[in-house]
Symmetry: C2
Subunit: 588 residues, 2 copies
């Protein structure tokens, strides 16, 4: 309905910095593959010409604009609501599958610890994990675009490049079902990325009340069919995905704002916020209701709950610690850059050897990763894990205690097993809080093993998020630093090592994805501790800066490797180099 | 350095919605005064032509862009830091002056309560208040632009209209000193608006290391002289002002984003966030240090501290309450619209009768308002105030208890006096929490009296913010509703009436200023209670909607009345009417 007149050619978009992405990229990145012709560009510009003016004038008069606007808000609500429900579905099924798996494994380990048939327990675990992962992988083979985290695709879409099949119902199904199994399969992957992608797909699909899968259902508001309208709903859906995953509605909005920065307008902010809120609180409502059988209350904001950061009334951090945090951030950025560099090589290798032509190899690789991950975790826990007395707080919980007692005497827990065999969220929680204690060796080895395995895993053909694994990896790193400082360097003993773990997590994740304000806010919201604002911001800043010295964020790397014709996103950079680059991009 | 070529004519700005403000306005608002010729328009566009490209290319090569970028960040830090310091200055002096005043008044009231010479106490209070307000007003007469809250001016500036003298050092001084006295003078004004304005002035001045007042000092980075650069720092400073005032760094960023929505880019978000953080935490650092003599810790986020919302482990709100909240929001929007309508008439009257020509009348009006406010508060507390036993929590505090015991027997406090004679922040705190109890009559009368006095006060020629008075007025309204529901309608007795007060505050403030996401986030941050996200958002949404049925936000009204040639800000509207209007604006 709205065709854009060439005279405006892209000059109206929301960010000066991201103009003319195509030219920008091709000039800027030497190693970029040539744009593939199956990518179409989306048209987000409005054309203000007399016919359109009259059209709007007319609509304004007979108030059909008002109606349409009202409908927009209702649809936005449903986008948020459904995203919340998908998140709820993923979360509960993952929990179910994991419980199923561990109920079997726990028994066998308990009995085998005496009879010394632990190899059997390992085999049982292998069957579960490899089986799950194979299912996940085969779903991705049916719908290749469902692999990976999906955030790169969303980034492309929001910045005006249509990646084929990215918004299909089929993609949604294989993504959301696939991620269940890849997570339940004990891979070092998160479910956040896929949730965000799911949200975006819902945002793309719902406003049209139809999907290519079900052509029958149709919807008369052709208005929502313009790329522009669709994009608005997609950014809403993506924000809702973040909001549901982390219980961070504000962070969700800023995520869409930061990732989809090429096009934005003021009203979109508010509607996106509404969408995130709808997702957060519909999820919250059901989680709280199911959790307590007392409906109508809201106390479980998101799927990730880092627990309350409190430390016997003492301060969580002070000005002195800030200096350490900066160092952690700097190093975290370098670790992140290393992660990206390794993963980039791997991806290039995969593109030539494990591509669409080699479906079986893809399956096998996924299975292999699962097997190796499981075995290493199992053996690591057996050999390296230290047995420590179970803290009282855990004993109170009774049965479903978070610490794992494998290979230990009664009343003791295995610190390595606690990290490897819990859900990653639970492991992060353990690292973020004082109760669980971990030896330096455990933390160090865990970090290294996890680093490489996660790096290998991202890019395997299963739906796989990057957020939570990076957080866990970084949390181990931060906790390692804290333990080192206190026990071996004689740093102030009263520090709250949970804070250091959080800072480490932020530093590593920041070094990998190079997100700035949205990541800060997401972490503030999901820790529900506003006083962490300053340290988190500084650390993410330093991490991004030190990382940018070596390479780009992982999402941008993957976007480029696929030859998607989109410019480097204008995620804010404090060093002028990219500024300059961007200028080139603009003025070329 | 960068002149914009006409070919781009404003088409690059960050928001499609706000293009061509001038045409937009004049077409849209029938009662708008004609643009006055002393307003200049600012040029925020970059021109991408070959010479500029070469210039950037060159700069990129010899890394001077990197240097410049680094300097930008350092300067940004100082903008934030200084804003924090100004906030600290204002806050501490206000506290000082108020303590001075009440030490005298308290004694006289205590003695006179027996001897029945209360008229004397009233006179003492009058001397103080009228005196203070006269000082404030005379400062404004020296520098007229320092009157009012300053937010309309900032809005204009950020959207590309240069209001004369708005960024001068002289304005900063008379604004920040003036607001001390207008607040200490017991007027129903807040110090937040002026703080935001001060922040913006600092942002405009510091990057140039010079002010028109001190021509001697000069600074070689002519780069920061472009309107574009200056605007970036101004939005940073404004955000820092919000951040310092409310301890809401994220809210600050969103404030700048929402108010200055015509021009924005991705990098600006991150730098603005950095600026707000600098302000929040430098203020926090000193407040905490001074407060506890234990330096290096951060536990007093902002000047406004609404205290911790906790209710004997019970829920703060539930799904049922949401319906009541919506009603409160709807009514609050109408109250806000009424406030705006009355204030608009008043302002029009003032423009013709109390303008620059009538300096003395201005002084007298300010003095009159002070006198009337004081007298009404005093008599109201004496006649209407109810004496109630002082809650234990207050007794523990001992000397500097928040409740006022005027005209009451020992161990009792006067609820009306507690609202009138505390700092407004303290009064809000009382209303937001369960301890202080207030009779229905007190709340009702207080709301009505405060409503009209605040409405009369806004526009008097003193520096005067609008945020906190509106919050207080709304809090009384919300608390009134809660008391009514529980005691007279038999609503669930276990509700936390503090939540209702908060919702009422949000509803009324939202109805007056019509801000959306930034206000939501500011309130979430300053209550430090993320679980209030949904109710606050819904209420602000409904309030804005019901208010928009009648008139615009107060800031927009004042902007228009002054004939500033700027379009209605693109603050998100959920009803399509304005959307339509805006189209007109765009396509005219």
């Amino acid at each position: 309905m709205v065709d854009c007149c060439p005279c405006f050619g892209g000059s109206q978009n929301g960010r000066e910095e991201e103009m003319r992405p195509l030219i920008g990229t091709s000039r800027r990145h030497d190693n970029v593959s040539l744009p593939r012709k199956d990518y179409e560009s989306l048209d987000y510009d409005r054309c203000y010409n007399t016919p359109y003016a009259d059209y709007v004038e007319k609509q304004t008069k007979d108030h059909s604009v008002a109606k349409l606007e009202a409908i927009k808000w209702i649809v936005t609500f449903f986008v948020g609501y459904l995203t919340g429900m998908v998140a709820l579905f993923i979360d509960s099924i993952v929990k179910l599958l994991t419980r199923l798996k561990f109920s079997a494994v726990d028994d066998s380990i308990r009995s085998c610890s005496e009879d010394g048939c632990l190899i059997l327990s390992l085999l049982i675990m292998l069957c579960f994990n490899v089986g799950f992962v194979i299912i996940a992988s085969s779903l991705v083979i049916l719908e290749p675009i469902a692999g990976g985290s999906g955030i790169p695709e969303i980034k492309c879409y929001l910045n005006g490049v249509k990646v084929p099949r990215v918004g299909r119902l089929r993609t949604l199904v294989s993504k959301s079902v696939g991620v269940l199994f890849s997570v339940a399969g004990g891979l070092f992957v998160g479910k956040e990325g896929p949730m965000i992608h799911s949200g975006a797909i819902i945002g793309a699909g719902v406003p049209q009340f139809q999907s290519i899968a079900f052509k029958a259902i149709n919807f008369k508001y052709s208005f929502f069919r313009t790329d522009r309208e669709k994009r608005d709903f997609v950014s809403g859906g993506a924000a809702a995905g973040v909001a549901a995953a982390f219980g961070a509605p504000i962070g969700g909005v800023l995520f869409s704002l930061e990732e989809g920065c090429s096009f934005w307008n003021q009203k979109l902010t508010w509607r996106t916020f509404f969408c995130s809120m709808a997702a957060t609180y519909s999820l919250n409502f059901f989680l709280s209701g199911i959790g307590s059988d007392e409906w109508g209350y809201f106390y479980l904001p998101g799927l990730i709950n880092f627990g309350v950061f409190k430390y016997q009334g003492q301060h969580l951090w002070n000005a002195m610690d800030l200096l350490v945090f900066l160092a952690i951030g700097f190093l975290g950025g370098i670790f992140g850059a290393a992660f990206n560099a390794i993963n980039k090589r791997l991806t290039i290798h995969r593109m030539s050897h494990v591509n669409k032509k080699h479906k079986v190899i893809r399956l096998l690789e996924a299975g292999l990763v699962a097997a190796v991950t499981t075995t290493i975790a199992f053996i690591g826990a057996m050999l390296v894990g230290e047995c420590r007395p179970i803290p009282k707080s855990e004993l109170i919980n009774g049965t479903d205690t978070a610490v794992r007692t494998y290979f230990c005497d009664k009343g003791e827990y295995n610190d390595m097993a606690t990290l490897f065999f819990n859900s990653q969220e639970e492991a992060i929680k353990q690292l973020f809080h004082q109760e669980g204690k971990f030896s330096l060796a455990t933390l160090g080895i865990f970090f290294i093993v996890f680093f490489f395995l996660a790096c290998w895993t991202y890019g395997v053909h299963v739906p796989s998020g990057l957020f939570v694994p990076s957080l866990l990896c970084g949390a181990a790193y931060g906790r390692f630093v804290a333990t080192l400082l206190v026990n071996y360097i004689g740093y102030d003993k009263s520090i709250y090592s949970g804070t250091f773990a959080l800072i480490g997590a932020a530093a590593f994740l920041g070094g990998v994805v190079r997100m700035t304000i949205s990541l800060t806010v997401i972490l503030i919201e999901s820790t529900n501790e506003i006083s962490y604002g300053l340290p988190l911001m500084l650390v993410l800043m330093v991490a991004k800066w030190s990382g940018d010295l070596f390479n780009e964020g992982l999402y941008d790397i993957h976007i480029k490797l696929r030859g998607v014709p989109v410019a480097r996103m204008g995620s804010s950079t404090w060093n002028g180099e990219n500024e300059g680059k961007r200028h080139n991009g603009e003025v070329t």
